[in-house]
Symmetry: C2
Subunit: 177 residues, 2 copies
C-alpha cells in the first residue's frame, strides 16, 4: 500500500469549517480503513528509524488516535497531553496564544522523566502553536524533544518554522500547500 | 500477562477529582506500558469473539485511546463520537443529561451505515449516560448496537442498568465496587 497516496485519496476537504474561509482537512475517513491505520502507524515508526525515542506524547484529542498505536509500535510509553483540567494527577501547564484568545495544555508531571527523548505526535501541523506548547512541557520537566510527527501538514501556515529551533526531525505523512 | 491483574496494579485512584468526594480512577499509567496496551486490545477483541461487529465507535477523548487499536485488531472501521462542534462534516447529534447540566455528542452521518453492527467503546462505565447517548446515535442512523466495551466499570453507579435495554454484551476488563 502507498500510504501517502491512500491518505490523499481519503482525506476530505470541508469548506468553511470551523469558520468562513478555512478549508478543513478531515482525517476521519482514514480511521475507517483498518489496513490504512495499521500502515500509517508502521510508516511513521519507519520514518523515525534511527531516532532515539523513549516515549510518544500525543495531543488531545486527535493526537490520541494514532499516538497510542505509534507508541505501542515503537514499544515505548504513551503520554497524553491534555487540555487544562482533564488530567487528575499533579501536572505542569503551559498557556499559548491562538489566533483569538489562548489555550492551555497540561501533562502529568510523573509521566515525563528527566532526559527522556519524547516524540510529539498530533494529527495536523498548522501554525505549530500546539505542538510547540507540548514541546515546552517536555522541556519544562527536564526531558528532550526527539522530534515531531503529524499525519498532515499545511505548508502555507509555516508550522515548521515555529518548531525549527528544536533542530529535530519534523515528519508529516502528507503535505498540502 | 494477566491483563486484569496488571490493570488493577497500575490504575491510580486520585481522591477528590474532578470534585470533592469522587475517587477518580486514573487510566493514564496503563498507557505507559506498551506491552499492556497491546494486551488490552487483544483481550477486548477476544472477549467479543463470536459477536458480529462491523465497526467500533469510540467516545471522545479517552475512548479514542484503545478504540482505534481495537478497531484495527478487529479489522473494522473506527468511528469517532465527538463533543458538539468538533466533527466537520454532516452529523447527527444527541443531548443527554449529566449530574449538573447537559452534554451533546455527535457522529458523522456518513460513518454509520444502515444495519451496521457497532461496538461502543469508552474507557470507563460510570452512570452509563455517555455510552447510552452514543448508542442512540447508532440507532438514529438505522444501525445496531453490537455491544459495549470498557476498560473500567464502577459497579456502584449501575451503568449496566442504563444499557440493559440493548440486550447486548457489556464487557469491562476491571470492575470496582
Amino acid at each position: 500500500m502507498d500510504v501517502q497516496e491512500e491518505i490523499r485519496k481519503l482525506i476530505k476537504t470541508i469548506p468553511h469549517f470551523p469558520k468562513e474561509g478555512v478549508q478543513f482537512k478531515d482525517i476521519t475517513p482514514l480511521l475507517e480503513s483498518p489496513a490504512l491505520s495499521r500502515a500509517i502507524t508502521v510508516e511513521i515508526a519507519r520514518l523515525f528509524q534511527g531516532v532515539n525515542i523513549d516515549a510518544v506524547a500525543g495531543i488531545e484529542s486527535r493526537g490520541f488516535l494514532y499516538g497510542l498505536p505509534l507508541a505501542t509500535e515503537l514499544n515505548v510509553p504513551f503520554i497524553p497531553v491534555r487540555k487544562k483540567g482533564k488530567l487528575p494527577d499533579e501536572t505542569v501547564a503551559v498557556k499559548y496564544l491562538l489566533e483569538y484568545g489562548s489555550e492551555e495544555l497540561e501533562v502529568h508531571r510523573r509521566s515525563i522523566k528527566k532526559d527522556m527523548n519524547v516524540l510529539i505526535h498530533d494529527d495536523l501541523l498548522a501554525t505549530g502553536g500546539t505542538a510547540n506548547a507540548a514541546a515546552s512541557l517536555v522541556e519544562m520537566l527536564g526531558a528532550k524533544v526527539a522530534g515531531f510527527s503529524f499525519i498532515i501538514e499545511l505548508n502555507h501556515l509555516s508550522g515548521k518554522k515555529q518548531l525549527a529551533d528544536y533542530d529535530k526531525p519534523i515528519i508529516s505523512l502528507v503535505k498540502y500547500d
